[in-house]
Amino acid sequence: MKVLAFAEQRENKFKKSSLEAVQAARRLADSLGGTVVALVAGSGVEVIAAELGPYGANQVIAVDQPDLARYSSTACAKVIATVAEQQGAEIVVLSASQMGKDVAPRVAEKLKAGLAADCVALTMEDQVLVATRPVFAGKALLDVSITTPVKVYTLRPNVFTATPGSGVAAVEKISVALGAEDFGSVVIDAKVATGRPDVTEADMIVSGGRGMKGPEHFALVEQLADVLGAAVGASRAVVDAGWRPHSEQVGQTGKTVSPMLYIACGISGAVQHLAGMSSSRFIVAINKDKDAPIFQMADYGIVGDVFEVLPELTAQLKQALGR
């Protein structure tokens, strides 16, 4: 039995969520009695392939060819499906990253497989592999089983572990023939802001709401985020007001996040917001209204003014963390 893990890389660096996918594949292979084949695709990627060994890959296949320098969902899907078929993989695991979500449905269809998307747990129940997916933005969980012979799973970033061990993987470089017809859509440019992490990938998030009173005061949120190395999040109210970009919106019509620590500043805690962040491990709320619903969800709450509490918190953390 083989489990194929697709390890996404950008600029020849593996994403943390790819390492999580490889390690989750390892755990599946262990419980099902199988091996893990990891796949990395791109141009010049062979050199990083061996990095996947410590995360649990027995073997790494590097599809390293110049035409993969630019991402195309159709070409990438063909590479993954071809390798899955060649290897006879029964399970394919990808991260539910923007690339994973873009390519997985195509991979599933090529393999005539069912796809369980954005899973937060994979467990064995009476010989059946059960995938747990949050639905209604986390207001409920749905346990599903895939009924096709080949099964495809995408895993929510930041939920599964990625701790390196001492494993070593053999690397094999292969090529997959691709023609112009495989590049129906192709990336021609990418702009990624360096600096703060993205809310979907961050271990910690500092989020601001309408209680911040104006875009200029988000400096307080950013300063706290920077001391923690956290991402900046926002409620829809402040995104709609144009104070923050919509890529930062957390909630039912924004991002669903599950960081270790979520600090909500001047956010009331409307159901649509709670839906997107309720699976955070620890939640801190700072709000001057003691009856704000966010306090129902918070592990630690301070009923107070963000303009007093935030600078104090930033200062004390700076000292505690020596930054």
Partner: protein, 248 residues
């Protein structure tokens, strides 16, 4: 330009989710349904494409009779006509995609728009599945779209930024918030929608690939504690984060 927009009818975002008696889906009693928010961006984009290039916008939904309500909303916003692919049963995303792909094959639109995900099952796969089934290119999570001479340049959201993707028509696009500001249906639009046609057909049957075993509520969070009422509580918060939560 022929534009098809596939839209879903979902519980509104205020819904307090309760698991229904079958333990597989939500209890629909008292739940209000609406046009899924990302699909609203898709409808709006379709209308803008028609305004620029002429042609028609066809709204398509697969589901029971109740989906007509959402199709009417699209018609009220300005879609020309609608198709209901009728199905009373339970389908997984692949089944929904198979039904939609079957209809789209004969419709042969230049542009096919979806939402990036339905806000009920948050699956985010139907649009790209349909593209694969039809052998078409796709761009997902689109926040900007520019069509010129059959060529399309899109911005799509990725972690921490955007990437620009180029493709050719016909193609599939899935809409993300930020693509546009959806219009409200005008009174005239709402009146006109009443006379616009909604064609009904039986949806192509499809096999199940992903089966629900159970739906459940996530474990309730322990009620938290208020540790203070002003900035003097900060020291205690820092201590708790360090010693109890161990996150710093």
């Amino acid at each position: 330009m022929k534009v098809a927009v596939c839209i879903n009818h979902v519980p509104d975002t205020e819904t307090k989710v309760k698991v229904g008696p079958d333990g597989l889906a939500i209890d629909k009693t008292g739940v209000n349904f609406m046009l899924s928010p990302y699909d609203e961006f898709a409808v709006e984009e379709g209308l803008r494409i028609r305004e620029k290039f002429r042609g028609e916008v066809v709204a398509i939904s697969l589901g029971p009779e109740s989906h007509k309500e959402t199709l009417r909303k699209a018609l009220a916003m300005g879609a020309d006509r609608a198709v209901l692919l009728k199905d009373e049963g339970v389908r997984d995303s692949c089944g929904v995609a198979a039904g939609l792909a079957d209809e789209l094959k004969s419709l042969a639109p230049d542009v096919i728009l979806f939402g990036k995900q339905s806000i009920d099952y948050d699956d985010g796969q139907v649009g790209t599945l349909v593209a694969e089934m039809l052998g078409l290119p796709s761009v997902s999570v689109v926040v900007k779209m520019d069509i010129q001479d059959g060529k399309v340049v899109c911005d799509r959201e990725i972690e921490g930024g955007h990437e620009t993707v180029e493709t050719k028509l016909p193609a599939v696009f899935t809409a993300q918030k930020g693509l546009n500001d959806p219009r409200y249906p005008s009174l005239k639009g709402i009146m006109a929608a009443k006379t616009k046609p909604i064609e009904e057909k039986a949806a192509l049957p499809a096999a199940v690939r992903v089966a629900a075993i159970r739906m459940r509520k996530p474990a309730a969070k322990n009620p938290g504690r208020i540790i203070g009422t002003d900035k003097s509580a900060v020291a205690e918060l820092v201590r708790l984060l360090h010693e109890e939560a161990k996150v710093i």
